[in-house]
């Protein structure tokens, strides 16, 4: 699964709406609840265990990619 697909499914939006510049709370669908679901999906899908800083710093799609790269997840 691509990162874009994962975002689209977790936020409940169309995949073409997901791009690197999409930021937390810039669309109503990416609220704190969706953020939690997004994190849960990411941990399951990519087999990583994110820490507090990762979760609260994941403020955009680009940032998510960067954080996942720390855990050797290329997406």
């Amino acid at each position: 699964m691509t990162l874009e697909q994962l975002f689209a499914e977790s936020l409940g939006v169309a995949v073409d709406l997901v791009h690197d510049d999409l930021t937390y709370q810039s669309i109503p669908q990416w609220d704190s609840t969706a953020h939690m679901l997004l994190i849960a999906r990411m941990e399951d899908e990519f087999g990583v265990m994110l820490d507090t800083d990762d979760i609260i710093d994941m403020s955009s799609v680009a940032k998510a990619r960067q954080i996942l790269a720390k855990y050797d997840v290329q997406c």
Binding site: Y24, S32, A34, H35, I56
Partner: protein
């Protein structure tokens, strides 16, 4: 109870205490709070209604308190309210003032003068916020004061408390955190940030928050955020309300709290009781994690059988009935209802409960069809009715019959019809209700199960959803 004795009875004593600190760095003492609130509204002879769209800013808190202190009634709504629903409320309740996004607007010229407002009416709150119903709970000055006093008493609040007030002010639990702390001269740390933001935790740490409140999904977030590994020495109290937290989770939080010198206090309540009805004393949580505990100070709980007779035997189920000075005046569905006085001597909670031999109450079921979505009590009947109206008006999805069932954090919608796309329906329903699609499950059935009397059989309907966890589009009937 006079108007001047709501929350500010002792403010002259606290005058140099800091009342509010916001995440944006604003800071107000009780003295400043008093003088700011006095400057909001011009004097009036007639009792007015204020519609306050709160954003958890100090400015919106000031308007709320100004309304209380000047004897105006105030309706609280969240900043996320849709524009058309706000319009509906304005039409329905004819407020004299609207406060929104930092601006106070007089509506007196636009709106025909509404019917009189009862002198005791203080606050109007929504019960099922996200369904956009105009139904409101009418709370009096006595209700607000009594519940704040009870909470301050059982949580043993002192002026040294610094609660992180992050729940929306328009939500009864959020409002009760603010009210109970302003009553005792404590410092409310006010924020609109969520737990998922860095600034939330910076604010918590820098301002040395002493307590944190949350509904079950906040506790899920806290787990996800590895909260238990955070270093927050000032934070000593965790309260939980807004729906049932699973017993094993209650146990786990209680254990962690005990081992780390903190208090974890599960609480139970309803907006119809201003906020709180019962709490589980911290020292009993480990032994009785499944219980909602005992009535708050000055409140009384009892169980009634179907004929209204009191049940006194242990572990016998009956409807949970609450009495206390925090029980609402009644409901309102429009302006004309605001002139009505107190019509609710006792609150039938709709929950079926038992009392154990130690005098602690525990819930075993529900009489009425209510679920909680993200801590907001949602009437399944109301949602069902609204969805029916919606699809009757614009049936682009081919829905012929629709019914709702479910449990906390899971609204189940069963539909019958031809060529229905369950995904589209799920999206549409979650958008309409303003909740994340993950808590809305849609199933297409060939036909909805009915009882012999021809009514929808909700027990059977629910079993269609319980039988598997995967959102199936098949027809199990």
């Amino acid at each position: 109870m006079t108007v001047s004795q709501t929350l500010d009875a002792n403010w002259s004593q606290f005058h140099s205490n800091v009342a509010v600190i916001s995440a944006e760095g604003e800071r107000l003492t009780y003295q400043q709070l008093a003088s700011e609130t006095d400057a909001i509204f011009p004097p009036t002879e007639r009792k007015e209604l204020v519609l306050l769209v709160t954003d958890n800013s100090p400015a919106s808190l000031i308007v709320y308190l100004a309304a209380l202190r000047t004897g105006r009634a105030v309706m609280l709504q969240p900043a996320t309210i849709a524009a058309d629903r706000l319009d509906d409320l304005i039409t329905c309740y004819q407020p004299d003032w609207l406060w929104k996004a930092g601006k106070l607007i007089s509506l007196q010229s636009n709106v025909a003068r509404g019917a009189p407002v009862h002198p005791e009416l203080a606050v109007l709150l929504s019960t099922s916020g996200s369904t956009g119903s105009p139904k409101q709970v009418r709370l009096s000055y006595t209700n607000i004061h009594a519940n704040a006093r009870s909470i301050a008493s059982y949580l043993q609040l002192t002026p040294h408390e610094r609660p992180l007030a992050h729940l929306p002010m328009s939500y009864s639990y959020g409002l009760s955190v603010i009210n109970s702390h302003l009553l005792v001269g404590a410092t409310v740390l006010l924020t609109a940030d969520s737990m998922m933001e860095r600034r939330f935790w910076q604010f918590c740490r820098e301002q040395q928050a002493t307590s944190l409140s949350g509904v079950p999904y906040h506790y899920e977030m806290l787990e996800r955020l590895r909260f238990q590994r955070m270093d927050l020495p000032a934070l000593t109290t965790l309260t939980q309300a807004g729906g049932r937290l699973a017993t094993d989770k209650v146990q786990a939080w209680a254990e962690w709290s005990r081992n780390n010198g903190k208090c974890f206090i599960p609480m139970y309540g309803q907006t119809e009781a201003t906020a709180r009805i019962s709490y589980l004393p911290a020292e009993m949580v480990l032994e009785f994690p499944q219980c909602i505990g005992i009535a708050i100070p000055d409140g009384r709980l009892q169980l009634q059988d179907e004929d209204g007779a009191e049940i006194t035997a242990a572990d016998q189920p009956g409807e949970l009935i609450y009495q206390g000075s925090n029980v609402m005046m009644g409901y309102a569905s429009g302006r004309d209802d605001l002139m009505r006085g107190n019509e609710t001597p006792a609150l039938s909670t709709g929950d079926i409960a038992c009392r154990n031999s130690r005098g602690l109450y525990y819930i075993v079921g529900r009489k009425k069809r209510f679920i909680k979505l993200f801590g907001v009590r949602t009437s399944l009947d109301e949602v069902e009715q609204r969805l029916r109206q919606q699809w009757a008006a614009t049936n682009t999805l081919g829905v012929e019959h629709i019914a709702c069932c479910g449990q906390d954090q899971q609204l189940c919608i069963a539909v019958a019809g031809k060529g229905i796309a369950a995904d589209a329906l799920q999206q549409s329903a979650s958008q309409y209700l303003g909740v994340h699609p993950s808590v809305v499950q849609v199933k297409v059935l060939e036909e909805l199960p009915v009882t012999e009397a021809g009514k929808i059989n909700y027990v059977l309907l629910q079993s269609c959803f319980d039988s598997d966890d995967t959102p199936s589009r098949g027809a199990p009937l």
